[in-house]
């Protein structure tokens, strides 16, 4: 069953169109990857889905409800949570305050304490550092706060934008492992990544984007052995 359905979406910045008739479906409970090089419009897609950018045309359905054009806070209220590129933590607020901000909506606030415990269970490091300013953490710890903050909202669908960016190989592996673990709790995941190998290996399905369009789709396993993918993205 499709949880999110994007139908012929067009978006751009002023006169520059970025997404061209993009159609994507996200199924309930799956890990979906969207892969592609820099500048093909992956982040623009997420910003449009989160309501930070307007779509020029096209429809987005979430559980059969049209959501394009809704303001970001309404979209968050529906359970569509984005963990933005580059973490975007509130650098001068503490780790705990950052996590609390994740549970800002009334629905999430009601279950704040319970979720905080869950987040500390996944990332015990954050409990140790809860009073430290988020801006003073290491890159890996900041990514934990970013993911933890996203989980505090109680997402139905979690959209991650380049979560492995700027991390060491060990921390990358750890990040993908955590994403997989979150998916196992029933959260639908939409993963945007340049680390094609790792993201495909944890994905049920994936779309390949080039120049604002979907050029290929398939299961993670299929795409991993696809000659085009191997040549263009895996360098094999």
């Amino acid at each position: 069953m499709s949880l999110l359905k994007i139908d012929r979406l067009n978006t751009g910045y002023g006169d520059i169109q970025v997404l061209f008739d993009l159609s994507i479906e996200v199924h309930q409970g799956e890990v979906l990857s969207i892969i592609g090089a820099n500048g093909v419009g992956k982040t623009t897609l997420l910003k449009t889905l989160s309501g930070l950018m307007p779509a020029s045309s096209g429809t987005v359905y979430f559980k059969d409800q049209e959501i394009q054009g809704l303001p970001p806070e309404k979209i968050v209220g529906l359970g569509i949570i984005q963990i933005p590129e580059g973490r975007r933590l509130f650098s001068l607020m503490s780790v705990l305050e950052n996590l609390e901000m994740g549970a800002y909506t009334p629905k999430a606030r009601a279950r704040k304490d319970e979720r905080l415990k869950e987040v500390y269970q996944i990332f015990p490091r954050l409990e140790e550092r809860k009073n430290q300013l988020a801006g003073t953490l290491s890159g890996g710890e900041q990514q934990m706060v970013a993911i933890g903050r996203g989980l505090m909202a109680g997402p139905e669908m979690l959209m991650l934008d380049e979560p492995s960016m700027g991390l060491s190989p060990v921390l990358r592996e750890e990040t993908f492992r955590v994403v997989k673990k979150i998916a196992e709790t029933g959260v639908t995941i939409m993963l945007i990544e340049q680390d094609v190998k790792h993201s495909l290996s944890i994905s049920d399905r994936a779309y390949v984007m080039e120049r604002g369009e979907v050029v290929m789709e398939g299961t993670g396993a299929e795409l991993l052995v696809n000659p085009h993918i191997r040549k263009a993205y895996l360098g094999i």
């Binding site: 309501g51 806070e73 968050v76 933590l89 509130f90 901000m101 800002y104 909506t105």
Partner: protein, 309 residues
């Protein structure tokens, strides 16, 4: 022998006078700080310099003036009336005047058109006041006006300035507590640090802007209440405080509330101690000189970081 004794008492007198002007500078400076807190708060959240700030202070002063004159109440009892009124004045001004322009320039970090709109508001408010109340300087005679506190050592302090000092610190602490501990306060801080990230948490950023603008206006209204017992009210009174508030805010670090209060105190002390040694027009020169020097050495101001208030 008697010559040295005389010199000694001269020196003592001089010290007393310096101490008195230091205290007076501290009191008046904290009130300058209070007039600047709203400006810095609004800038911190909206990233917009509000050119109507002085006019908002003027509106607050007139509101306090009429409250006190019409009812004859204790001047500080006007605070619970003026401050909430000013909150809504700011809230709706943001919602109906600034927000529409702000939305159009959503992607611009420091939108110039919004600054132009606030300049328009400044002209409209000042001229409305001129039209309604006339150019007359109005002085309200309250139960504290002109009264002095006498401290040991022949030191006299104007009572309304002492109350202003106390109110500045109470309101500064309250504001600090509000921003640090309440959910709305945290949302305001988060929005000031990264508005898009705050939106992704489910924060309605426009509501935050209205609230922040309302709080900034309310604090400025409080400053108006504090000034009225010892400062005359007239339509262009805001301009004097406006220019000073800009300097104070940059001196203390744009967006920092403790910075605004400290910056105010520095300006107040220079004005008051400086006036003993030079004509008051020269104290302005010292203030601007210090201001330029600080911009040169530390462009972010005394408390300037990415400002978390």
């Amino acid at each position: 022998m008697s010559g040295t004794a005389l010199l000694y008492t001269d020196w003592l007198d001089e010290m007393e006078i310096i101490f008195e002007s230091l205290l007076n500078g501290l009191l008046m400076g904290s009130i300058y700080g209070l007039t600047a807190v709203g400006l810095t708060l609004i800038f911190g959240v909206l990233k917009v310099i509000n050119f109507a700030h002085g006019s908002i202070l003027m509106v607050g002063m007139y509101a306090a003036y009429w409250c006190i004159t019409l009812t004859g109440m204790n001047p500080y009892l006007a605070i619970p009336i003026v401050v909430p009124l000013m909150f809504y004045f700011g809230y709706f001004m943001q919602q109906f005047v600034i927000e529409p322009v702000f939305k159009v320039e959503k992607d611009v970090r420091e939108p110039i058109t919004v600054i132009i709109v606030t300049t328009g508001v400044w002209y409209i408010l000042d001229n409305l006041a001129l039209m309604i109340f006339g150019a007359k300087y109005r002085v309200v005679h309250t139960s504290v006006t002109g009264k002095l506190f006498e401290l040991p050592g022949d030191i006299y302090l104007l009572q309304p300035k002492v109350y202003g000092f106390i109110l500045t610190f109470i309101s500064g602490l309250l504001l600090f507590w509000f921003l640090k501990t309440t959910l709305m306060g945290k949302a305001i801080r988060a929005t000031s640090l990264d508005r898009d990230a705050a939106s992704l948490m489910g924060v309605n950023q426009y509501k935050i802007y209205r609230t922040a603008f309302g709080i900034g206006t309310a604090v400025t209204g409080l400053a108006g209440c504090v000034l009225v017992p010892f400062y005359s009210v007239y339509p262009s009174v805001g301009i004097i405080f406006d220019i000073r508030a800009f300097i104070i805010v940059v001196l203390g670090g744009l967006g920092s509330i403790p910075g605004a209060i400290l910056g105010g105190i520095i300006v107040g002390i220079i004005e008051s101690v400086g006036a003993m040694y030079m004509p008051s027009t020269w104290t302005e020169l010292v203030i601007y000189g210090l201001f330029l020097l600080l911009l040169f050495i530390k462009p972010t101001g005394l408390f300037g970081s990415k400002h978390d208030f």
